[in-house]
Amino acid sequence: MRMRTVEISVGAFVLAGALALIFLAVKVSGVNLAQGSDSYVVQARFDDVAGLRLRAKVSMAGVTVGRVAGIEVDMVYGEALVSLEIHGEPGNLSLDTGAQILTEGILGARYVSLLPGADEETLADGDFIEETQGALVLENLVGDLITRLGSS
């Protein structure tokens, strides 16, 4: 076969491979190339995040508005410090927005649900969400129930 045909097909092959890699990065692993410019981070303290994972979704009224960007533990207070990456410019969340950790689907994937607030002022980059409710842990609920049944 002529060298030119070989070169063209090799070029097309390399191009196809590169496109496939980009597809894997963008469409499959969900890397958003333009993410850095239009998102900001708010933080929230939870008493328990059991089962919440990095990159879990942050939603409001069931619509995804961001992702969990970091989960750390505050040893002093025994609380979990969760960073939430919110899409859009700062100013779209009211100052008294609430956050709670809920469970989705049968496999039990945890996600953060934001509850709209009423305050005029808005959360800035790096602010803390004050109103939080941690994950419900089944064992704790069962424990509560047993103590309550025993005392009655």
């Binding site: 097909s9 092959f13 390399v14 995804t64």
Partner: protein, 260 residues
Amino acid sequence: MIDFVRALGDRSLDRLSSLGRASIMWATALWGLPRLSELPLVIRQIYNVGVLSLIIIILSAFSIGAVIALQFYTQLARFGAEDAVGLGLALVLLRELGPVVTGLLFAGRAGSAVTAEIGLMKTTEQLSSMEMMGVDPLRRIVAPRLWAGVISMPLLTAVFNVVAIYGGMVVAVEWLGSDAGSFWSGMQDTVELWNDVGKGMVKSVIFAVVVTWIAVFQGYDMEPTPEGIGLATTRTVVTSSVMILAMDFILTLSMYGEFR
């Protein structure tokens, strides 16, 4: 008894010295390449091992993706968790099946061809005549094939993964009626760029090195007879397949540890 021990020693020495010869060949070939004038040789070989493997890769990827989606769907549907088909499919493909199956197909399609080609060159004494002309066959014949393999296989793996995910989507979404939105978003929520896509690619580069190394060495080191070619080709496919599967376990263990 003594004979048995002697035979064992003989075998071990034989294996050891062939491993040594293979390492020397690998080192010399790698040392020899970085020259722009030899690029056409590499391109030619990328055509031979990469472009020509594309059809078998695409066909197998589509059917493997489709069959995985089918199995996942029927099992997960029992728990009402059909939405997890996308992420299960993507994780299985990116982490394991993509690199491994591409490696096996690559060994069968390209590795055997390389062994047979180099073997035939050796049998017809083309390699020795090259040496007579002052051309180093390691540079001229071996090095371009090694490089072409290492360049082609990660690209083939990426194509494999994409086609397989597409095949899975066709079955799960178009045919079985799983929701397209949850198929993709479940995937995007879970799959991580480095941990899943990146590590899969690292695997495929390692497999590429192993397969091309074995293929080229078997051709270069075989007995220059017609039976020798047949034996060497078989050995290439068998050895690389076993190596890929064994190394995949070790790599998975070291990459993903206790299944984080």
